[in-house]
Symmetry: C2
DNA sequence: CGGGGAATATTAGCCAGGCTAAGTTAGTTG
DNA sequence: CAACTAACTTAGCCTGGCTAATATTCCCCG
């Protein structure tokens, strides 16, 4: 019963639910919601336009507008424009935003590292082997 | 660099983000939100009390109250009581709720099954091996 | 017993984060 | 140059979290 796709699907579904709850707990109480953290992460390489951000986060444009508004109010990003097209607006990290991103990322990695440290070497190896497979899911 | 917990943590973190987005897409447009689906799933074996449901879903009691209110309005669950303790209230699936749960679950499993069918046997085996490890994360 | 604290739920009011619809401003094109 | 399209923003609604404030009911101890 473990190698048929349908049976496996049920197990995967159940594990995914568990991981979602885990992530929720990991994020609770941090100074950034996971969505805000995600957006900041997208800005790390440099300024991005609103439409790009919305697409990358699988979200409608108005939703991203509001997110950026909040981040701007918090002083973590600033808005800019494109000299070649006055319709487009860009968001860019402020220094404070970059620092905040760094700190939150460090906290998350530390948290996960702790979880992983509780596993055996074998378990970590098994997990590492499966990551590329998980990453493939949904790429179709 | 692949077997130190910290490096692994970064990879896991990234894959988790991907999976969260995948789940979001899977759920979009279905006749039940993932939270409602989750609650209905908890009711499948039989009536449950509010506190139990809240704990199981890692949510405060008032949040669960509201969820059940909505499901009740939708005709998918009914409330009951405990003859032995008049303080407790229980939620139970209606026939319609049971049918809805069945349909949504089938759709989700079908979707995941499709994803999994696109993998090779080896990849499925790798994934299956890693599921118990993933399930262990956060149990500490 | 009976009165007070603990347990169980609910309601109310707040916020984040989705959505669609409608409005604005700037390019593009016939 | 008028009309369409593209890029955003604003407004208004919903779900789903939270805490604080009630109600009820149970239970224990004096």
């Amino acid at each position: 019963m473990r190698d048929d796709p349908a049976g496996l699907a049920e197990q995967v579904s159940s594990v995914l639910r568990h991981l979602v709850l885990l992530l929720r707990r990991t994020v609770a109480g941090q100074p950034l919601t996971s969505q805000q953290y995600g957006v900041l992460g997208s800005l790390e390489p440099g300024p991005r336009r609103m439409t790009e951000l919305a697409e990358e986060h699988a979200v409608q444009l108005p939703t991203m507008t509001v997110q950026i508004n909040r981040l701007e109010d918090a002083g973590l990003v600033t808005r800019g424009g494109d000299p070649a097209d006055a319709r487009v607006r860009t968001a860019r990290l402020t220094d404070e935003g970059r620092e905040r991103l760094r700190a939150v990322r460090a906290a998350r990695i530390a948290h996960l590292t702790e979880e992983l440290a509780a596993l055996t070497d074998d378990e970590r190896a098994t997990l590492a082997a499966a990551l590329p497979v998980l990453a493939k899911l949904g790429r179709s």
